[in-house]
Symmetry: C2
Subunit: 277 residues, 2 copies
Amino acid sequence: MKGAVVDRDGSTRAAEQRPTPRQPATVEAILAFAADLATAAGTPAAVGLAVPGIVDDTSGVARYSTNLGWRDLPLRDIATDRLGLPVAVTHDVRAGAIAEHEFGAARGVDDFLFLPIGTGIAGTVFTGGRPYRGADGMAGEIGHAPVPVGDELCACGQRGCLETYASAAAIARRYGDPALTAADVVARAATDPRAQQVLTDALTALGYALTTYTMLLDPTVIVLGGGLAEAGDTVLGPLRTHLADRLTWRAAPRLVHAQLGATAGRLGAAICAWSLL
Amino acid sequence: MKGAVVDRDGSTRAAEQRPTPRQPATVEAILAFAADLATAAGTPAAVGLAVPGIVDDTSGVARYSTNLGWRDLPLRDIATDRLGLPVAVTHDVRAGAIAEHEFGAARGVDDFLFLPIGTGIAGTVFTGGRPYRGADGMAGEIGHAPVPVGDELCACGQRGCLETYASAAAIARRYGDPALTAADVVARAATDPRAQQVLTDALTALGYALTTYTMLLDPTVIVLGGGLAEAGDTVLGPLRTHLADRLTWRAAPRLVHAQLGATAGRLGAAICAWSLL
């Protein structure tokens, strides 16, 4: 869990990181964390919570999270009661996108995709200056768009998902050496043909999915986040080429890496809190 | 060109169809058509024009149309001057989507894809009750999303586009008998293995593209239009199966055919005209 007390200009008064305990202790740990930060840095005007899974921002209900074991948890109401402050609840990837929009790589841009690549791949679709949630809060699941790289089974039960080839976890798994991370595999791609093939599959899958995204949604920018994007031009360079090669009759959107790194989620949560005031 | 004088409840007072003359006579023919309809059915309160190509609804400029030979044509201003009435200009597919939203298959639905399948394939992405244009007016080009059916060259210059396999023109072309239309090919698929293969490729391509659309945008409904959708359950049935088979962890959006047929464009233009008042 990453927490911070943040001023309206985005500057951080206090920040701290804590492990996330398993249920049933999770909610209590979050609330205690928020209370401790408030004590350390002065009571804030509002609180923003960015959580994983499927989240209904409007009602503040954490509808579903495999990792946390939540199901229809009225997190906003619980936190409001306990903390005595206005509380906003949002999705963690959405929070990252909101922060990149306000302070980072998508500043001044209303139409973009925020795509952090980590253990899994989930994006936030920004349209007209706002995150788009879809009919039932499930938009942005580009990680489970099928890509024509193959039909490997994805953890989600589908076959050939982008995430199966291009997530950091997939890159490490497909290389097949448990001692190596995705970053290690990317680093040795220049000299190791097996690593090169795994990276090529990942970039082909991403190039394909981002071409489709561009055709459907005509974004100004695609903001790549997560560890893989931090590999910088080893990843972004070839990906720009893939995208430009596929797109013949329209310009490719700019492809940039996220600027806020691991602070994006907590900054986005703070922006959601400010929006209540 | 299809024209009509339409009341606010969607009922048609007068409707007429005329051939579209080539440039430079096109704009003049449109304006004369509008003036004649106004004479026939009583001067309307406003005029809506739905045109192909790339259209900027806000400025009323027809930015680009291969078929009509337009480039940055200030159509709204020309028509306003000439007709002495408020004029709205929009894209023809967008007009169809707006009409299906107000009077047809997407009534009461805010998040949907309108996908008419004709000579080409271009969709309109409806988000939050409004058509989404993208950063530069090019959203909805799902016809040029790459699909893993093959890498046949598309007229657009890219390879493996959805349109290359699934448009009505592609189905007729890929079957290879110049005397047969796409509807003919679909009709003989049950008994002719070559027709079956062409139809299977089209449905596979569509199933793939619509899976990706669902993952990215979580629509309530997908509204299929054009002649191919009118083949009804020969097309919609297998397509629903494709979509349900690919989506393992979420429900498929409803897949329905458009209700307004060829009147959708002129109804949507009328709705845009009303929105000026």
